[in-house]
């Protein structure tokens, strides 16, 4: 429409720039997580992820081995290289943990009891003492280290933190909880869309009302019920719960879609003698594939990402933790300061939904539109 009354080019620029700004604003937090998940633990605490492509100044501590102890006149001397066999460049050094980077390379640091320490930029050090050296002295230095990206955090979290088990648990909860409600809802949606019976309008109204019932209400009574009938806190319990909670949206989405199917096809099939059951399985179900896919994606994302239902309906032992519970209840406490590990764990838990999202976005958008806009 802009072409009718002439486009204002300055406005187009402003629009482009503000959209770029908004997109960046939305992406930056996620990129930060992704980058951090590949970084080494020490590098994360030494520089921000936005500086990760650049070398990082990190602090190190080495002990000078006593085997090289030599005597130089009245002094005992230790010489060597802080990098050992490797190489690097020292940007600062110190002889105590209180001032690990007090001295420039090449300077001589005066330590307690007349000891001195000199570290050159290439790492060569000279430690002198008037008395005999009995314990290996510590040398502190700062050095630029190149960026260090690796899969280390992912390996750690998979190997030692049972994240792989949590991943499988999440998968175990998600797949049945996505598939089972679809069929139940499809039959009900067909009845609500294409069959005439008393009370149909009332039932549709009830489904719409149930769409917004807060899940919180269901937790206590249903857990009591599950305990009473012997399901207790178990995978079976969570599958049933997710099925029940997903049904209103499923029925609503599918009914809205089925109502829009062409009446002629269904009526001519009935004239030809098809029963309702045949009409449903042979005509309506195949034609409703887009709506089924929409709901499947919704339910998949919702069950995969759920924390509340998993906390209540699954056993609270660590073998049954799904990823969200694992992160929220375990890793945030036990690995609270280990940002690389946390980032890797978070990324493992959001990777599958992201793949589903980007490959099936079309169906997701269609489902949203069918479910909300009237």
């Amino acid at each position: 429409m802009d072409n009718i009354a002439g486009t204002k080019s300055s406005l187009t620029w402003a629009v482009n720039l503000s959209v770029i700004f908004l997109v960046l604003l939305w992406l930056v937090p996620t990129i930060g997580l992704l980058v951090s998940s590949f970084r080494d633990r020490d590098q994360i605490s030494a520089s921000g992820w936005w500086l990760s492509p650049f070398p990082v100044e990190q602090n190190f501590r080495v002990r000078a081995p006593l085997d090289d102890l030599a005597q130089d006149g009245p002094l005992y001397v230790l010489e060597g290289n802080v990098f050992g066999e490797g190489s690097g460049s020292v940007s600062a050094f110190g002889g105590t943990s209180r001032a690990p980077d007090a001295n420039e390379p090449g300077e001589t640091a005066e330590l307690t009891r007349d000891r001195t320490l000199t570290v050159a930029a290439d790492g060569a050090f000279r430690y002198t003492s008037p008395a005999e050296i009995k314990r290996e002295p510590s040398i502190y230095f700062a050095s630029e280290t190149p960026p260090d990206f690796s899969m280390g955090n992912y390996e750690t979290i998979m190997a030692s933190d049972n994240m792989d088990l949590a991943f499988i648990n999440t998968l175990t909860v998600t797949i049945p909880a996505t598939i089972i409600p679809i069929l139940i809802a499809a039959f009900a949606a067909y009845a609500l869309a294409w069959m005439d019976f008393a009370g149909r309008g009332l039932l549709i109204a009830i489904v719409v009302g149930l769409l917004v019932v807060p899940l919180q209400l269901a937790l206590v009574p249903l857990l009591q019920l599950h305990n009473k009938v012997g399901i207790g806190q178990s995978f079976l319990g969570i599958w049933l719960a997710h099925t029940g909670f997903g049904l209103p949206l499923a029925i609503y989405l599918l009914r809205n879609y089925m109502v829009g199917l062409p009446r002629d096809i269904i009526e001519s099939a009935k004239v030809d003698g098809a029963t309702d059951f045949q009409v449903f399985t042979k005509i309506v179900l195949p034609l409703s594939f887009p709506a089924l896919a929409s709901f499947a994606i919704f339910q998949f994302l919702w069950t995969w990402n759920d924390l509340l239902v998993a906390k209540v309906f699954l056993p609270s032992n660590s073998e049954s933790w799904v990823m969200t519970v694992k992160i929220a209840d375990d890793l945030l406490g036990s690995r609270g300061g280990d940002w690389g590990i946390l980032a890797a764990a978070a990324f493992i838990s959001i990777a599958v939904p992201l793949v589903v999202f980007f490959t099936m976005q079309r169906y997701l958008v269609r489902g949203l539109l069918a479910g909300s806009v009237k």
């Binding site: 429409m1 009354a5 959209v19 908004l22 997109v23 939305w26 930056v28 930060g32 997580l33 951090s36 605490s45 921000g48 175990t172 049945p176 598939i179 089972i180 139940i184 039959f187 009845a191 069959m195 309008g201 039932l203 009302g209 149930l210 019932v213 807060p214 899940l215 919180q216 209400l217 937790l219 206590v220 009574p221 249903l222 995978f235 049933l240 719960a241 099925t243 029940g244 049904l247 209103p248 029925i251 309702d276 994302l301 990402n305 759920d306 924390l307 969200t324 992160i327 940002w339 764990a345 978070a346 959001i350 939904p353 992201l354 999202f357 958008v365 949203l368 539109l369 909300s372 009237k374």
Partner: protein
């Protein structure tokens, strides 16, 4: 048996059971109870068709009744009993709860969330929808802003922990403050009152994409003639947006707004992961979870308060749906 195997088995039993139920029940109805022969085939077919809808509906209605209708009643009933559930105390849970300072904070914070999150998410969604509408790369931009919808609240909270971290080398906010010369890092999640807004930002970040997708479709649906007429009459882009477009999609804006409002009343994950309800950030869902497993009477009472807050939206939704079916 490993849970995974159990899951596969459940899928087979669940799906097979469903198909079997629908097939067999229809078969029995048509062949055994009301066979279209005997003395009166026509009447039998009609009778079968009267019963059939309920065969189709039964499993769904049973599950809905058990998992959503019964809990509303069951929760209310349970909230009238004491902690262990053996003594009827009437509205005792509600009166002690409303006197509790923690509940008052949670209610006030939830009020802030309901006020702020839907407004901000809808506004930003509308803004992005309008800006990307005529952009050549608009779909890519929309897809990227929509992406957080796929991320769990727990995952999103972790993502934002990297923004809020109390360390200028990890948290973006403190890095920016550091750049402007702040000497000490600041833990924004411990700033009383304002920390609520930092938590809300996370939900806004997730929900803007939802608002954008729906409002974008609504903007596309506006009849072009109205806009053409406005342009010919000399309206500038801002007038077109506020006076022509927004009034025409007002219905959709309300739907988006209420949908996000409902969501705000359910989400406990963000507060739970970010602050655990400390530093005055408790909201009703997280307050409820802190009593879950400890005091079911109090927990169900909180849940019922949430239900009462949701009720007007529910009634409005039902009225809309009924008006539409006519």
């Amino acid at each position: 048996m490993s849970p995974l195997l159990q899951g596969v088995l459940t899928i087979i039993i669940g799906v097979g059971g469903c198909v079997g139920y629908f097939y067999l029940s229809n078969l029995i109805l048509d062949k055994v109870i009301f066979p279209p022969r005997a003395d009166n085939p026509g009447r039998n077919i009609n009778r079968a068709n009267l019963v059939r809808p309920w065969l189709f509906l039964f499993p769904a209605m049973f599950a809905l009744g058990l998992y959503l209708v019964y809990p509303v009643v069951g929760s209310f009933w349970r909230s009238l009993f004491n902690r262990s559930g053996d003594e009827f105390i009437g509205f005792g849970n509600y009166t002690t709860m409303f006197g509790d300072a923690g509940f008052q904070t949670a209610l006030f914070n939830n009020f802030l969330w309901v006020l702020f999150v839907p407004a901000a998410a809808t506004f930003l969604g509308l803004l992005v929808a309008q800006l990307t509408d005529r952009l050549s790369w608009g779909n890519i931009a929309k897809s990227l802003i929509f992406m957080p919808m796929a991320i769990s609240f727990v995952g999103a909270s972790l993502i934002w922990k990297f923004v809020y971290a109390n360390n200028a080398d990890i948290g973006l906010i403190n890095a920016i403050r550091d750049m402007f010369g702040a000497s000490e890092p600041l833990d924004v999640l411990q700033l009383r009152f304002w920390n609520n807004f930092f938590l809300m930002v996370i939900l806004i970040w997730i929900q803007t994409g939802f608002a954008m997708v729906i409002l974008s479709a609504a903007l596309r649906g506006i009849p072009e003639e109205t806009i053409e007429a406005a342009i010919i009459d000399g309206a500038n882009p801002f007038q077109i947006f506020f006076k022509i477009k927004v009034p025409q999609i007002m219905g959709t804006i309300v739907v988006v707004w209420t949908t996000i409002t409902i969501l705000v009343l359910k989400v406990f994950d963000i507060v739970y992961t970010m602050t655990g309800g400390n530093f005055g950030t408790e909201i009703l869902p997280s307050y409820m979870m802190s009593y879950m497993f400890r005091d079911d009477g109090r927990a169900t009472a909180v849940a019922f308060v949430i239900m009462i807050i949701v009720l007007p939206v529910m009634i409005w939704n039902i009225r809309q749906a009924r008006a539409e079916m006519r």
